[in-house]
Symmetry: C2
């Protein structure tokens, strides 16, 4: 797909040595917007984006109700914005272990805390915590893009381009 390689390259240039940080927007059961920063863990050759999550977190409730998300990457150094939208599949159990193994130990540790978003309770001190296996609440969110939009602020006027599955990924320009 024509947009994938330039997108990967842009993220690599912007986030040298760090995971790309996007903002994932979801819709609650009450049809209210919600958004939070997420680290993109992987980009497949077909443009599939992978994120890690806790099954007990609020966004999982949203995704079970409305699997569609939009993820925004604002690349401040490159002065470009990517908006990527599509449906998310929630992957648990053995199928999620590969992504778990790729996480740094400090990140793995965060998945053993108390339920996210609930009233604060101190984390239990687990002696000899086994970080080789994820807890059952670990999951991977795999988003298959249906639409990708690039806004380039380095040109005057700004350039805005869209690729969509519906249009067989043929690029088309829209007004900025």
């Amino acid at each position: 797909m024509i947009w994938v390689e330039p997108f990967q390259q842009a993220l690599k240039t912007e986030y040298t040595g760090r995971g790309p940080v996007g903002v994932m927007a979801t819709v609650s059961e009450q049809s209210e917007p919600a958004a939070r920063s997420v680290i993109c863990r992987r980009i497949g050759q077909d443009g599939r984006l992978s994120f890690t999550a806790d099954l007990r977190s609020e966004k999982i409730d949203h995704l079970r109700h409305q699997p569609s998300v939009e993820v925004v990457f604002w690349l401040s150094a490159l002065r470009r914005q990517y908006r990527v939208s599509g449906d998310v599949r929630i992957i648990t159990g053995g199928a999620a272990v590969g992504e778990w193994s790729a996480l740094p130990p400090d990140t793995r540790r965060t998945f053993f805390g108390p339920p996210p978003g609930e009233a604060f309770s101190p984390a239990d001190l687990i002696p000899d915590l086994d970080l080789t296996q994820p807890p059952p609440t670990f999951c991977v969110l795999e988003m298959l893009p249906d639409r990708v939009e690039l806004l380039d602020l380095t040109t005057t006027p700004h350039t805005r381009q869209v690729w969509s599955r519906d249009s067989d990924w043929q690029p088309r320009r829209i007004n900025p």
Copy 2:
């Protein structure tokens, strides 16, 4: 309100000499999520956030259907995230002129282009464009926060704090 001043200070520290960039999440009429980067133009003493927009843009359709938004500020240098949510009021006409006057000329110029999001058409060359007055499609989005959440990644474990209008802005900690 207890959260406003530290929030302003954090944005100022992170975005020295630049407008703070957040991501605003809205919900479409089809109950689908959408999100895009926005520059926060002003923060009132009561925490009100102001943004500028084009009445012809997609997010205005969303806001007329669902006025609630969530705006996320990921402050990468400070390793802190603010999520601010509430309802947006769309301000047009004379009441929007003050914000117009505060915009740099290059930004004002972008509001005279063809309808955003539509199939690309070259911008008309308007000789002697009068930038002192906004076009009728210029508007200000004023968001009155109902809930503010701070995630601080500089501590181990991470610290997550919520303030809400419902709870008279008393801070409470929730699990990260």
